[in-house]
Point group: C2
Chain length 207, copies 2
């Protein structure tokens, strides 16, 4: 599992000529790094007299983000798994017409599952974006650049997730599935972008 | 050192109430993740007959990016070190006028050194941005989303580095130092943003 690898080993795995783990896992890792920054700002705020009014918000924020960090790591692993399932489907026999149809169906279903993992990352980025805005607004101002980095990484995770949704959709035939996922992807991304940009504006005013 | 930590441990360190490692280290990590994606696309391109014309470019690109990945990791560690040096300077005695002046000078010098580390990250992002464009243009098209993720992460690394340059500059008194670094930061960032956006346009056309 990715979280048990040391960083050097993880980067070697990502850098290798094996296509998984790849960009989809990096999307999850970017989300986890953003969540870690939100967590740090929360911890540097909770218990400080100056930020007494933010205390309850920061505690809730910390609870959410701690769970999300784990979820992003699991999604980073999951992305590599579903990619390998797609590759496995492509390796099915395709000699006879029947085999061809079975293989084509298996590839389609595996690719749908593969598209849903970065969509899960993107959906979590929407919640995460709101948390980065909270720490930018109410967190310890000594850590304002860390709140900004949290927003930058949440937006990067969302962008990376979108690319991975789109590459999977490009080989799916089911137009209904494609249409729905594409619309959700566009809407959720727009929200993430707007909220993280708002967070970054707050950060820049405070720096 | 960061690269010897497993990912769970690294995320725990980043999430903790200790302010270092923080956002400056995340900038370096984002750069390393981008470099890993460039490396993967290069390796999936080199030796493929279809991409024979890209072979030399991809080999050069791989050589550059392998070195950069290590440099980004070292800068992630270095960022935590220089931050701790600033904190140490703040802890110097400041009872007498002489002590106050000495402490103030030590803080100023340590903060200058701290500002130069994210500037080093940002400068490397300029080179890295060009490499992400190269793999988007000439890399294996089966890995086009990974080339896109490389561009996304290079831009995120640059944005995170900028926030860390600005937060350090905000407490520096030396106007000459501030002016020069601010101008360089703005110029380099603009270049990184333009090149990574160009890379992303290429990727979106190919997906």
């Amino acid at each position: 599992m990715i979280k048990e690898m040391d960083l050097q080993q993880l980067l070697n795995e990502l850098s290798s000529e094996s296509a998984a783990p790849g960009g989809g896992s990096v999307a999850g890792l970017a989300g986890a790094l953003s969540a870690a920054m939100v967590s740090m700002v929360c911890k540097l705020t909770i218990g400080k007299k100056k930020y007494q009014d933010s205390e309850d918000d920061m505690k809730k924020c910390l609870e959410n983000v701690t769970k999300m960090k784990e979820e992003f790591l699991l999604l980073a692993d999951r992305d590599a798994e579903v990619f390998n399932d797609v590759m496995e489907a492509y390796r099915l026999p395709h000699g006879t017409e029947e085999e061809k149809a079975e293989r084509s169906n298996a590839v389609e279903e595996a690719t749908k599952r593969a598209a849903l993992v970065p969509m899960d990352v993107l959906r979590r980025c929407e919640t995460l974006a709101g948390l980065t805005r909270s720490v930018a607004l109410k967190g310890n101002e000594n850590s304002i650049s860390d709140a900004g980095v949290a927003a930058v990484m949440a937006q990067a995770a969302a962008k990376a997730a979108c690319l991975n949704i789109l590459i999977n959709l490009s080989t799916i035939s089911d137009e209904d599935f494609k249409g729905k996922l594409k619309t959700e992807q566009e809407n959720v991304f727009k929200t993430v972008r707007d909220i993280t940009e708002e967070a970054l504006q707050i950060v820049k005013q405070k720096i």
